[in-house]
Amino acid sequence: MNRRQSKLMKVTSGVYAAFIFLFLYAPIAVLIGLSFNESKLRSSWGGFSLKWYASLFQNDRLMEALWTTLLLALLSAAIATVIGTVAALALHNMRGPFRSVLLSVTNIPMLNPDIVTGVSMLLLFTFFAYPMGFSTLLMSHVAFNVPYVCMSVLPKLKQMNPSLIDAAMDLGMKPMTAIWKVVVPEVLPGVITGFLLAITMSIDDFIISFFTSGVGVSTLSVEIYSMTKRGINPEINALSTIMVVVVLALLIAVNLRPDHKDGEMINIG
């Protein structure tokens, strides 16, 4: 939609947009500025320095958490992609009341507040006295990612010509081969979307990781939370600056794709 606007409206709109952008960006700009401040005090500018970056990279806990986060994101997204695609296939081939039951169950992690999902996974592991660690983080991340993958694959299955799979089997393919050779290539865009979405969700997650991480293993978010709880620390400023730069680079790369839809916002889910 595009409406004709008076001069006054245009100016007001511009001022308002500027105000909101200032609100969104001022805090981040301040963090970036302070990350180069030699002095630990925020009230004085001690000159330009990269020392917080240096000490950030020597912070073993944080570096380890970064490694855990990346490994967890890739592994959980890969596993969730397989399970989520199977889930979509199962739901696609089902009829009747049992299908809607399974669909509702699949939707549980997506509809529940994260804190409830976190608590429920924690209880699952404590109930079976399963020790908390990387494997519990992995199982939880897989679990909350499965519905997102499933929901990105399901519409692609609906668009697929149902006779394709019958044709493949009539021509002598085994059912599993038919899935692998016919269905998977057909729904691949949905599978890839699901995989990327799962990676983002996993990196972005704090609450569920907070409840399911064990002693000695934590993700970047959990580590950041315990750091910020202890108060202001210039290393976090340096970390934020690096994250802003990485995210900016990724977003520019993604949005420069020629097929990008005009003006539509990308969403992190």
Binding site: S13, P113, I179
Partner: protein, 275 residues
């Protein structure tokens, strides 16, 4: 039915990892001390929460809803005009601006919340600026206001996004015909634009309200001990007090309330966002 094996395997998985954990919450909330293997049925955890002679827990629940509601209303009041302004820009400009809009959302929300800590502190930057221009400093850090500010800051894009995506798809000829038929700009807006974007408004409200009402990180970092939310209470039961029964009871309560409100406003938190 094709692919029975796959279907059964997935069904087993879904029930084990999605459904069973929810049942466990219910089980822990209704047993005396499941963590200590005492499985006696009891309503004591719920009674402790809804104790009218010591209403401190109910007060926390009411506070959480009140604060989340205030944040949601502020997000709507700030977000709708922003989405409207963006949607009315030239496509080239708005696709660039919308990119700028998502950028902060991709940064870890704890870092975004942390950013406000150094601004809002008693000797933080805002107060330094105020003192420099001769105004009295403000005390906002570790108050409820700081928590609301943190929520609005974190969740505003969740309100703008669905509304913006719905506004750019709006059929302009409907607005033109309203104009032609003599509606004032305000009438066109309130009688045509708003009703047509209603689903997006509701989905925005849901996406802001739900994380606001269950957060514990924002309130801990910006509110300190001034603001206890239901999320903080739950986190405490599992991480500090180790009273899993009571924590589970509160999780059940929050689940019922959240599903109740989202049923009232209609739709799920992921509707209308468009991937």
């Amino acid at each position: 039915m094709k692919y029975k094996g796959l279907t059964y395997t997935y069904t087993a998985y879904a029930f084990a990892f999605f459904f069973a954990p929810l049942l466990l919450i219910l089980f822990y909330s209704l047993t005396a001390d499941a963590a200590g293997r005492d499985f006696t049925f009891t309503l004591a955890h719920f009674a402790r929460f809804f104790d009218f002679s010591h209403p401190q827990y109910m007060k926390v629940l009411v506070d959480s809803f009140r604060i989340a509601l205030i944040s949601t209303v502020i997000c709507l009041l700030l977000g709708y005009p922003m989405a409207y302004v963006l949607a009315n820009m030239k496509p080239r400009v708005r696709s660039f601006l919308s990119l700028l809009f998502v950028l902060p959302m991709w940064m870890n929300f704890l870092l975004r919340t942390y950013a406000w800590m150094s601004l809002l502190e008693t000797n933080g930057l805002i107060n330094m600026l105020l003192t420099a221009i001769g105004l009295p400093p403000i005390t906002i850090m570790y108050t409820e206001k700081a928590v609301i500010l943190g929520m609005v800051y974190n969740y505003l894009p969740f309100m703008i996004l669905p509304i913006y995506n719905s506004l750019i798809k709006l059929d302009g000829s409907l607005l033109d015909s309203a104009d032609d038929l003599g509606a004032s700009p305000w009438q066109t807006f309130s009688k045509v634009t708003v009703p047509l974007t209603k689903p997006a408004i509701f989905s925005g409200i849901n996406m802001v309200f739900m994380p606001s009402v269950t957060t514990f990180a924002i309130s801990t970092l910006l509110g300190g001990s001034s603001t206890t939310l239901i999320g903080t209470l739950i986190e405490n039961q599992f991480k500090v007090a180790n009273d899993m029964g009571f924590g589970s009871a509160m999780s059940v309560i929050i689940m019922i309330f959240v599903f109740g409100t989202s049923a009232l406003s209609g739709g799920s938190k992921d509707e209308e966002v468009g991937l």
